[in-house]
Amino acid sequence: MTQMALVIDLNVCVGCHACVTSCKEWNTSGWAGPLTDHRPYDKDPTGTFFNRVQTFEVGEFPRTETVHFPKSCLHCEEPPCVPVCPTGASYKREDNGVVLVDYDKCIGCKYCSWACPYGMRELDEYQKVMKKCTLCIDRIANDTLPEAERKPACVLACPTSARLFGDVHDPDSEVSMAIREQGGYQLMPEWGTKPANHYLPRRKTRIQIFEDELERADNPLKKEAPLPAAEGETLDDVSF
């Protein structure tokens, strides 16, 4: 079985919202669109988005860290939003595990949005149907696109490559290795939803320097003595 998913590296994300805008651009004009806006250029603009970037401050000043947190549907492997849908409009694709909404069947009852613990679904105020991240199903399952472009718009847009995309059921995929080797985790594991998307934690980059690396024991300049006389050419003298 295949389960496509995003792995988002919180250590790399700089909170630039490039994924948000490119998601909106691709999806409002494509298969899953439109993602309508209300008062876009007025006070209190609001609208439908598949992807948001939030910002949290962790710790107490001066020891604080700013964490940018991209948030979109996690394409859960046990999605609680799917079985509650009375019409079958919400479904999980068998072939790649993407959770989708069929806009032609959705009656806009909002029940699925109640049944997502993460608040990843948004009702479109104009079309009156439920919308959510499709993992750009019209890109990733489109064989006419070149292989390199069969990725979600957010992944292609991210300038820091904080977003990885792939099959989390394939142990040798880039995403599986990142989860395994860099401590990938799931959101709210307590509800048993088994989110397919994972997050990579913040990681401190520390260099370890031992004393003898700073003061090389054999550093000739340390010696309080006249510089050693030339003992013939060393390798350094002849290589350039």
Binding site: P45, T48, F56, C109, G119, E122, L187, W191, P201
Partner: protein
């Protein structure tokens, strides 16, 4: 959660309709067992069924206002295997059918016994429809409440008490309406239905008190730490990703001030549990048909407030992602 008036009307109105129908069937069973004198088929049972049907239809109409695409509502019967909402949408029309048939059988006087059980209980068409309808009515209470109780991470709702409350509130308001209806149409059953209404109101008071206490002491499983997966005691949200609100801030927050919430809380305790009982009590001495009717109206208003509070009480874990904006 944001309390939507369509859902408040839906759940309270069909609760009354179901309760009234159950009251009618109870009355018929009692008179069958010679514990009550039999009532007039047309004036009591047929009219009572019509009244119950009116409430059920009104509830159904209210529910359409909740939908973005009411014209596709028929699709919602599709997933009855997994969705309690789908099940509710199947059982509601089924109950309406039973109530309508029950009323019609009484209206046309088709109550000649079909057969007798052990020579004492004579079973007619209305009794069979009544029992089937009663089963549907209880199934509907169950389905309606399970819509809320089945969502395990809305922990205020995820409790058997939700099922008990929905059923008892429906029964008390339905029997209250039966008492009011009896008083209004001059039927001598005000005492019978009134007593049951008070019993159900009291039982509902106990179970609602238990759920209020449970919710008051509830410790939520999800925290901001599990929501974003960062282990630190001090995390503060600086941005939600937007400034003007979104579906997430509109649908899952009630937006009412603490004062309003407290006011509604006090009102529903008074209007559901205290005033109707006093009004019914008074009607034992002052045989005025207005008192039971007022008791029903007051309790119904109280139940709307109770349902409003039921939504306000519920804390959805998604709210953790929308705590503050810098």
């Amino acid at each position: 959660m944001h309390p939507a008036f369509s859902v408040i009307f839906l759940t309270t109105l069909i609760g009354v309709g179901q309760g009234l129908f159950l009251a009618l069937v109870t009355g018929q069973v009692y008179s069958l067992a010679n514990l009550l004198q039999p009532q007039d088929s047309i004036r009591f049972y047929a009219m009572g069924s019509a009244l119950s049907l009116m409430f059920l239809v009104a509830g159904l109409l209210a529910s359409f206002f909740h939908l973005g695409h009411p014209e596709r509502a028929w699709r919602s019967a599709a997933k009855w295997r997994t969705s309690w909402l789908s099940r509710e949408i199947i059982v509601l029309p089924l109950l309406m059918l039973f109530v309508a048939l029950y009323g019609l059988v009484h209206y046309f006087g088709l109550t000649t016994p079909l057969f007798t059980i052990q020579g004492v209980i004579s079973v007619d068409g209305s009794l069979i429809l009544g029992v089937l309808g009663a089963l549907a009515a209880f199934a509907l209470y169950f389905c309606t409440a399970m819509i809320y109780a089945s969502i395990k991470f809305i922990e205020e709702w995820h409790s058997p008490l939700t099922l008990i409350n929905f059923t008892l509130f429906g029964l008390s308001s339905g029997f209250m309406l039966a008492a009011a209806f009896s008083a209004w149409s001059g039927v001598d059953l005000v005492g019978f239905y009134g007593t049951w209404a008070v019993i159900f109101t009291f039982a509902a008071g106990v179970s609602r008190w238990l759920s209020l206490r449970r919710n008051h002491n509830l410790v939520h499983k999800s925290t901001l730490q599990t929501a974003i997966g960062i282990r630190h005691n001090q995390i503060e949200q600086k941005s939600q990703g937007f400034m003007g609100g979104s579906f997430n801030t509109r649908e899952f927050f009630h937006g009412a001030s603490a004062g309003t919430v407290r006011l509604v809380y006090g009102f529903f305790l008074l209007a559901v549990f205290v005033l109707p009982v006093l009004l019914l009590g008074a009607s034992y001495w002052l045989a005025s048909p207005y008192l039971p009717v007022t008791a029903f109206v007051v309790q119904y208003l109280g139940l709307m407030a109770e349902r409003w509070y039921f939504f306000v009480e519920a804390q959805h874990p998604q709210n953790l992602y929308y705590q503050s904006m810098a």
